[in-house]
């Protein structure tokens, strides 16, 4: 179905024509602020918080008020007006932008009455007073040794970051401090957490998968015995546009490839010893830091969820759960999702690159695994 008026609020051609006419007059009359004795002024009003606007005072007549991106001398016939809306306010005629005006950006307002001289003024939106305060607070895996077929890294920042420039500001260095070219695959969208403060970097999966073309041609990005360093440059802008407070480096040793699925029967469950005590699980091999936050959950034996706080430590080999409400004596389970992966992307259900067996596709999903424990009354 079509909606009348769903079209644009602004089109290119009329704006260009208007801009061209306005420019010629504006250049001729730049600086002029009076006509027939009435004091007419164009002012930048508002603030960063509530939004900027341009107000024309001293005129009852709305005329045509337009704003262009850039200083007046940049105005040319090619210029398109900034999307905005003109209304009559108590203070005068007000131009309100469709999108927030940018800090430190110059704009030129042009007012053209139905008759008489054109008025124009150039404004610079005040720059934000930015303090470089954002830092890298952690990088995962946090263990000192990573497998040769490591699938991904997470970089956790203290505050939201900007998107789209990760490739420029993060690199992986080899033993000789030389960048390892093409180690990561950074899709254009970049993989950020919903809070935009954690970046996921995937190693090139084609080079990790055994025996596929890229793996045969270029080898795996990492090799056992090597030392690699992740470097995050200080110039990386955070979400506000400020650079980081400091650069960051983190070094790992590369160990043997991990080609085994995590097995819950190798885990050690430490049941809570007191009503407010923690539930702990130890793993013989490190698991994925992000997935551990949500793929292990606690429930009663009947399946009712228990709320609590999860923390992961010891190089992602130790998972601790503290209940919000003290434990009632009774039988509980830890529910482990089959999609839980280790550092190399092997899940409970399947290896990252699984030996090809015809029956495997279509086999029933493993589903969740339950690890039972009991909280005693004493």
């Amino acid at each position: 179905m079509r909606i009348a008026g769903s079209e644009s609020l602004n089109t290119l051609r009329p704006s260009i024509q208007r801009a061209a006419a306005a420019t010629l007059l504006a250049l001729a009359a730049f600086g002029c602020s009076a006509e027939s004795g009435a004091e007419r002024t164009l002012r930048l009003t508002g603030d960063q918080e509530s939004g900027w606007a341009v107000t024309l005072t001293g005129s009852e007549e709305a005329g045509e008020l337009q704003v262009f991106t850039g200083g007046s001398i940049e105005l040319s016939a090619e210029r398109i007006a900034v999307l905005g809306e003109v209304s009559q306010g108590a203070a005068g005629v007000i131009w309100t932008p469709r999108y927030t005006l940018r800090p430190a950006q110059q704009y030129t307002a042009v007012w053209r009455p139905s008759a008489g001289e054109v008025l124009s003024a150039t404004f610079t939106i005040p720059a934000l007073d930015l303090v470089a305060s954002t830092v890298v607070v952690g990088v995962y895996p946090s263990a000192e040794v990573v497998p040769e077929n490591l699938l991904r890294l997470y970089i956790q920042f203290s505050a939201p970051m900007s998107r789209g420039s990760a490739r420029q500001f993060v690199e992986l260095l080899d033993d000789d401090n030389e960048p390892i070219a093409g180690a990561f695959v950074v899709p254009e969208q970049e993989l950020w957490s919903s809070a935009e403060d954690r970046l996921t970097l995937f190693f090139d999966p084609g080079r990790l998968k055994q025996e596929v073309g890229p793996n045969l041609a270029a080898g795996a990005p990492l090799s056992a015995g090597q030392t690699v360093t992740l470097r995050v440059r200080r110039e990386w802008p955070d979400a506000r546009g400020a650079m980081l407070r400091e650069s960051f480096e983190r070094t790992w040793r590369v160990g043997a490839a991990d080609r085994e699925r995590p097995r819950t029967d190798t885990w050690t469950v430490h049941a809570p010893q007191t009503p407010a005590g923690p539930l702990r699980v130890e793993f013989p091999h490190a698991l994925d830091a992000a997935l551990l936050q949500r793929m292990l959950t606690v429930e009663t034996r009947a399946g009712a969820p228990i709320e609590g706080e999860v923390s992961v430590a010891a190089g992602e080999r130790d998972w601790t759960f503290r209940p919000v409400v003290p434990w009632e004596p009774g039988d509980y389970s830890i529910r482990v999702e089959a999609d839980l992966e280790d550092l190399a992307g092997n899940s409970l259900e399947r290896l990252f690159d699984e030996p090809l067996v015809e029956e495997q596709v279509g086999r029933p999903a493993l589903g969740a695994v339950r690890l039972d424990f009991t909280v005693g009354s004493g």
Partner: protein, 365 residues
């Protein structure tokens, strides 16, 4: 804030906006997009992926009629958009391009800025070369919530992973959505019935692909397109780094797991961006644009012939399976079909680095 003032203005224009759709549902306007990326235009509906909001919106933008005529090229498109949005060209991120094949209007999904204040913007370039801003508040929409999609296992809890939507296609009465998770690496292609119902949900499909000889793996599907192979509906999918895989839509049926057929590997360090079906001198080709390996042209006859062969099994170099030739295109940012005999290309001008949107005859590709 400004947006709100504008919404009031726009709503005044279209008067009362709540009306009743033929199926009895109340039509809602002003989709609350948190971001905008992948686009697909079909039958007057523009599907828009909101990765940040974990939602696919079906925006009622309408469709033209007839065939698109000549397309007037637009130079410095990013600069013009920046002027209109009150910003600079380096703060204008054009995420996708989708053409209304009837009117020739080219929709552009844009993010204005990249930080905390980044805003989604929808623009339209009509064949006369005019640039139009499309205000969200005027658009009626339905939506598909991906954040609430069930996990791969039927009894799993809700899955809060953050999936970046990389491609959307309407195939028959289903919408398919490809995405990258920021945590799991598994390949989940999502499918939902179209039109979206009130509480639309997507189900996950696991598409495995064989690697040479002895392994099979999952990886994210980045871009895909429908193809007809031996009279059956298939999907041709470009995976991250970069196998090309086909699988049968019919075979999917109610299954949620399927092994696709790996028909080619196109080299490492590369992300396939977009796939188009084009016709050139009566012959069908797949045009594939890539992040690092230029634009490839693959004869459809080879894709069809690959169906009769086993999946790639030999251990050979980085370029394996169905072969391709390079297409003489420059720094392609986005592409879509423009009628039957042309494509629309958004490309970077090597002289000054600005973006140009123009039509190109298929026969020159």
């Amino acid at each position: 804030m400004n947006k709100r003032a504008f919404a009031a203005f726009a709503l005044a224009i279209i008067a009362t906006v709540a009306w009743t759709a033929p199926n009895g549902a109340t039509v809602t306007t002003d989709p609350p997009l948190a971001s905008i990326g992948a686009l697909e235009h079909a039958g007057g509906v523009l599907f828009a992926g909101d990765s940040k909001g974990g939602t696919v919106y079906a925006l009622e933008v309408g469709a033209g009629s007839g065939d698109p005529g000549e397309f007037t090229a637009v130079n410095d498109l990013d600069v013009k958009i920046a002027d209109m949005l009150g910003t600079t060209a380096n703060e204008v991120f054009i995420k996708d391009l989708a053409v209304d094949q009837a009117s020739g209007a080219a929709y552009l999904s844009i993010m204005r800025g990249s930080g905390a204040g980044a805003e989604p913007v929808l623009m339209k370039v009509t064949p006369d070369g005019e640039l139009h801003h499309v205000a969200f508040e005027t658009l009626a929409y339905t939506k598909l919530d991906l954040a609430d999609a069930p996990d791969n296992t039927p009894d799993a809890r809700r899955n809060p992973r953050n999936a970046t939507i990389t491609d959307i296609e309407l195939l028959g009465d289903s919408v398919y959505i490809a995405g990258l998770s920021n945590e799991e690496f598994a390949s989940v292609l999502r499918r939902a019935p179209w039109p979206f119902e009130a509480s639309a949900n997507a189900t996950g499909l696991e598409i495995y692909h064989g690697a040479h000889g002895q392994y099979e793996t999952q990886a994210p599907i980045y871009t895909f397109m429908p193809v007809e192979l031996s009279g059956e509906k298939h999907v041709l999918a470009g995976y991250l780094c970069t196998p090309l895989v086909t699988f049968s839509v019919d075979e999917l049926g109610s299954a949620d797991k399927l092994r696709g057929r790996t028909i080619a590997e196109l080299g490492f360090g590369n992300v396939p961006i977009d796939m188009l079906h084009i016709e050139q001198d009566g012959e069908d080709f797949v045009l594939l644009t890539n992040s690092r390996r230029g634009t490839m042209k693959i004869p459809m006859s080879d894709v069809i012939a690959a169906q009769g062969k086993p999946s790639i099994e030999e251990r050979v170099g980085p370029r394996t399976g169905v072969d391709y030739e390079g297409s003489p295109l420059g720094l392609v940012v986005q592409v879509d079909n423009y009628g039957d005999s042309k494509i629309l290309i958004l490309e970077r001008n090597p002289e000054n680095g600005t973006l140009r949107l123009s039509a190109r005859e298929n026969r020159w590709l």
